[in-house]
């Protein structure tokens, strides 16, 4: 069982090595990427089966400081996160093959290489057995994604990279690390324990300070005012934005907040001390402000980024509610938002590759040429807003009920208002696509045009050494990419019908 945990880390790293070795042969390289992603998902699935059966496998890798271990442990919350990240990695890899070739990106080997490293660190975050391990992989994740954010190598990318690393590092080093060492100083341990480790070790006055150190110190959760790195990261290629900056990296942030609340503080302890009262409102403010800023953005990816900022704070809010329903809603929202937002980003990328459009105002009428893409966008929108028949409805429901139980009627209003706002700023895109008037005679892009796919491993000979060789006479959205979009959009709907696995995992976390 413990070997599976080790494999969850080792497989993506091994994949990275293969990717580097196969750099001369793009098709073999991409095949290696896909195989690695598939193997990883299979491993996480096995871990899921064991954990839902009640097992809690753990393994210690090293002991850097006396009493401070680098340890992996599978528990329900981590498994939930790992499941989502590893599954979406497969989909994203497929999508990237189409996108990177269709977009003629340079340095594709470096791209796949660091992508695999990033996923390895995400697995480390998901299965971290204590705060120190979590922090270590959190920082490795920041570093591994830096080359992806600055992939373009332009002056703009460099500046974005500075903001990205600057904010993520500053918050984690100044607040989070201080919080971790403080926890260690008072509790004598940093291990995750059900029910938390702080009860009886800390005066009630210190709890709000410590909690704030984590909520703001985990910069990847993008609680305002430490959210600027996320829009900056949008300079990266779209697959990076899709998987890392809608799922893996940002979810690593909110996941860490949730995990710390549940396993270090213990949500009952947080509720008793009232430590999270003002932090709830910090999250609520981020939810509203993020939505409002999203309105003002014409750039599609920027709009989605601010939408993510807003949605991430739902998860933080759920954790800060500090009751079982809130925590369940919080964990469910990690899953639901992941599928919804990745769909939206995939669509944005497909539009960029096929029609070279990046601004919302340019999308008029495009939906008629790319119906699959825009339909998927609509489904994603519904899921983000939280409307049936999509999975997003469930997480919103639990968050709302959790707010009521916490006696925060004001927060229910915030949730409803922000749902309306997100409906407004996201729905504009499919509406323009399907009903908007075209500005002029553009060439006709089409969904799933055969030409741009670049071929599978089968015709490796034809394309060896020439990634993205295909010419773009027909401007189709790459077939690989459309397939990926279809998968995630269907998943949004499937999760409405069958949210059971995620719900069960979260009830295991809350112990009810």
């Amino acid at each position: 069982m413990t070997t599976l945990l080790l494999l969850a880390l080792a497989v993506p790293v091994a994949g990275a090595v293969f990717i580097a070795l196969l750099r001369r042969n793009p098709n073999a390289r991409e095949a290696a990427s896909l195989v690695t992603a598939g193997a990883l998902f299979a491993i996480v699935l096995r871990i899921y089966q064991a954990v839902s059966g009640g097992a809690r496998p753990e393994v210690t890798l090293a002991e850097p400081l006396p009493g401070i271990r680098i340890a992996l442990e599978a528990e329900p919350l981590g498994v939930l996160f790992a499941l989502i990240a590893s599954f979406l990695w497969i989909v994203t890899t497929a999508y990237s093959i189409g996108y990177m070739r269709g977009h003629h990106e340079k340095n594709q080997t470096r791209f796949y290489l660091f992508f695999a490293f990033a996923i390895a660190s995400v697995m480390g975050v998901a299965f971290a057995g204590n705060l120190f391990t979590l922090f270590a992989f959190y920082e490795v994740l920041s570093l591994a994604t830096f080359p992806l954010v600055t992939h373009a190598g332009t002056e703009k990318a460099k500046r974005a990279g500075r903001v990205y690393l600057g904010i993520l590092f500053s918050t984690s080093v100044v607040f989070q690390l201080l919080g971790i060492i403080w926890v260690y100083a008072v509790a004598g341990t940093v291990d995750f324990e059900p029910g938390g480790i702080l009860r009886g070790n800390v005066g009630a006055g210190l709890v709000p300070i410590l909690l704030a150190l984590f909520v703001f110190g985990i910069g990847k959760a993008a609680v305002m005012p430490f959210h600027r790195w996320l829009p900056a990261a949008m300079v990266a290629p779209t697959p990076v934005s899709a998987l890392l900056h809608a799922v893996a990296v940002v979810k690593a942030g909110v996941f860490a907040v949730l995990k710390v609340t549940v396993y270090i503080f213990g949500f009952e302890f947080v509720a008793e001390t009232g430590a999270s009262l003002w932090l709830m409102w910090a999250a609520a403010a981020t939810i509203i402000l993020g939505s409002l800023v999203a309105f003002t953005k014409d750039n599609l990816k920027a709009r989605l980024a601010y939408s993510t900022v807003s949605q991430l704070s739902y998860v933080v809010l759920g954790a800060m509610l500090a009751n079982a329903l809130g925590v369940v809603g919080s964990g469910m929202h990690i899953a639901m938002h992941a599928f919804g937002k990745i769909t939206l980003f995939f669509c944005a990328g497909a539009i960029m590759v096929a029609a070279h459009k990046s601004e919302v105002s340019q999308l008029n009428g495009l939906g008629r040429q790319m119906p699959v893409t825009f339909a998927a966008f609509l489904i994603g929108t519904l899921s983000i807003v939280g409307l049936p028949p999509t999975g997003g409805a469930w997480s919103k429901w639990f968050l709302g009920v959790g707010s009521v139980e916490a006696g925060q009627i004001g927060l229910v209003a915030v949730l409803m208002l922000s749902s309306l706002l997100s409906l407004a700023y996201l729905l504009e895109i499919p509406l323009r696509g399907f009903f908007g008037k075209e500005a002029g005679g553009t060439h006709a892009p089409a969904d799933g045009h055969a030409h741009a796919a670049g071929g599978g491993p089968a015709d490796a000979h034809a394309h060896a050494g020439a990634p993205g060789h295909d010419d773009h006479a027909h401007h189709g959205a790459p077939r690989w990419s459309v397939a990926a979009i279809a998968v995630t959009a269907s998943a949004c709907i499937a999760l409405f019908v069958y949210p059971e696995p995620f719900y069960r995992l979260m009830t295991m976390v809350t112990g009810q």
């Binding site: 002991e63 850097p64 680098i70 922090f135 270590a136 920082e139 460099k158 500075r162 600057g166 080093v173």
Partner: protein, 492 residues
């Protein structure tokens, strides 16, 4: 044989030094220097092993019984420092072959190795001896050879830097002799262990306090504590690369050791903290050193000078740990002695590789090297991250204990300052990284990666940076034990 290890520790490199002069060929002198450095490391490791098993070792030179005769006294504290110094020596010696052949005229190379070995034996001597006057003698052996080593730098500013260092270093050494003399007047003894017994009787005397003051200034000059650091940046900038790597990792560390040894063992921790308020004197200096020198480092355009200012800031961290006046704080100091040696050594050696291929260490010289010299720049990035204190590197271990020490004292503002300044470290390291990876290489197409004779030792240090960051149990154990020895007489 093993009974004579303490004296061999110093004598092996000391005797090897004049032999270098007789060897006409630079390569042969190099071979001798490598052999002597490795022997020194082997002896230091053996001593550390003996000390951890058997406790304090005392060696009477020429069988003259201490306290009259000179005693070499090895306990866990100086065994630790011996390993640091000889370990860095053992890495820099092989590295210096290619680097020195590029940066020093062929005729002077045997002289270089003679001076290098003298410097090494001087530093080892300071560390191992239990006799105060012997400390002064070895201090001057190491300093004089250091002046010569720095003056071997290519730029003519190496000469003026060495001269300035000579003036300030000699003044510092003379202050130390004055302090030693005054202590001798009061007690009639030069043996440290003996003095530790005799001094408490004369704590109240003004002479002892004056001696303390002279010693404090002398040590702070030698260890380059702000504002007595002025000699350091230029000396490190213009010395040959191998010399900078060696000096930055050892010389100031040994000076810190001298300070700890004199003030905590000879005078005793209770005298230093309760009577002389050493902690309250050092704390503001350390804080100012950390903050101001990190800021100054950000604005440097010469990467070696940038790293030199960073060194002054890092010395501030060591002194900060001491000024907590707790075992945890001192553990952080002793850990950082070792850890900083590893990371600064790696960083300066990476810059030595750049110097070897590009011939300059100006920040523009590293442009595009991320692709052109990937291993060199990867070593720089790894060392830099360690300096910033990223987890799984040694820098993180130091930082952890430093912050733990601050929180133990309830000084959360000191903890925040340490964390904020590590961000400044990120800024100045990242400036170099951005130039290396985001700019195009302007130079000759034929420029290749540095030879493995340079990369090997550099990466050896990088590997140690990572290894002791992932498995710091042993280093932390030794440092804590040493801190407990030094803090004897004061609560936990």
């Amino acid at each position: 044989m093993s009974a004579h290890l303490p004296i061999l520790q110093v004598v092996v490199p000391l005797l090897a030094a004049p032999f270098c002069l007789f060897l006409k060929r630079g390569r042969m002198a190099w071979g001798l220097a490598v052999f002597a450095s490795w022997a020194a490391l082997a002896i230091a490791l053996a001593l550390l092993g003996q000390v951890t098993q058997e406790g304090v070792l005392s060696y009477a030179i020429g069988d003259w019984v201490p306290p009259i005769g000179i005693e070499y006294r090895v306990d866990i504290v100086n065994a630790w420092v011996l390993v640091i110094v000889s370990g860095i020596g053992a890495v820099v010696a092989p590295y210096s072959m290619a680097s020195i052949e590029r940066e020093v005229e062929a005729g002077r190379i045997p002289l270089f190795y003679a001076a290098y070995l003298l410097c090494l034996s001087g530093l080892l001597g300071i560390t191992i001896t239990g006799d105060m006057f012997n400390v002064f003698v070895f201090l001057e052996i190491s300093s004089l050879s250091a002046y010569a080593l720095i003056a071997l730098g290519q730029a003519r500013r190496a000469l003026t830097s060495a001269f300035r260092y000579l003036i300030m270093g000699s003044v510092g050494a003379t202050f130390i002799v004055i302090g030693i003399g005054l202590l001798y007047v009061m007690t009639g003894s030069l043996n440290m262990a003996d003095l530790a017994q005799l001094l408490p009787e004369v704590w109240d005397s003004r002479t002892v306090k004056v001696a303390y003051g002279f010693l404090a200034v002398g040590f702070c000059l030698k260890l380059a504590l702000f504002p007595l650091h002025l000699w350091l940046p230029n000396a490190y900038t213009y010395a040959p690369s191998a010399v900078t790597a060696f000096m930055a990792s050892t010389a100031t560390k040994v000076a810190v050791y001298m300070l700890l040894r004199f003030f905590l063992t000879v005078f005793g921790a209770p005298f230093s903290f309760d009577v002389m308020a050493l902690d309250r004197v050092l704390l503001p200096l350390a804080l100012v050193a950390i903050a101001s020198m990190s800021l100054v480092a950000i604005f440097q355009v010469n990467v070696k000078r940038l790293l030199a200012y960073s060194s002054v800031a890092q010395i501030g961290y060591m002194i900060l740990g001491l000024s907590f006046a707790t075992v945890t704080g001192l553990t952080a100091t002793l850990l950082h002695l070792f850890n900083h040696a590893l990371m600064k050594g790696a960083l300066f050696m990476a810059m030595g590789c750049v110097m070897y291929r590009i011939g300059s260490v100006h920040i523009n010289a590293v442009a595009g090297l991320g692709r052109r010299m990937p291993w060199t720049m990867a070593a720089f990035v790894a060392g830099g991250l360690s300096l910033v204190g990223v987890p799984l590197t040694v820098g993180f271990v130091s930082k952890w204990y430093l912050i733990l020490g601050a929180l133990e004292r309830g000084w959360w503002w000191a903890a925040i300052l340490v964390l904020l300044t590590s961000l400044l470290a990120l800024v100045y390291i990242w400036r170099v990284v951005e130039v290396a990876y985001f700019r195009d290489f302007p130079g000759d197409e034929a420029t290749r990666e540095a030879p493995w004779t340079l990369l090997g030792p550099t990466w050896a240090l990088v590997a140690l940076n990572l290894y002791f960051g992932i498995d710091a149990g042993r280093t932390v154990g030794i440092a804590r034990q040493a801190a407990e020895v030094l803090m004897a007489g004061i609560g936990p």
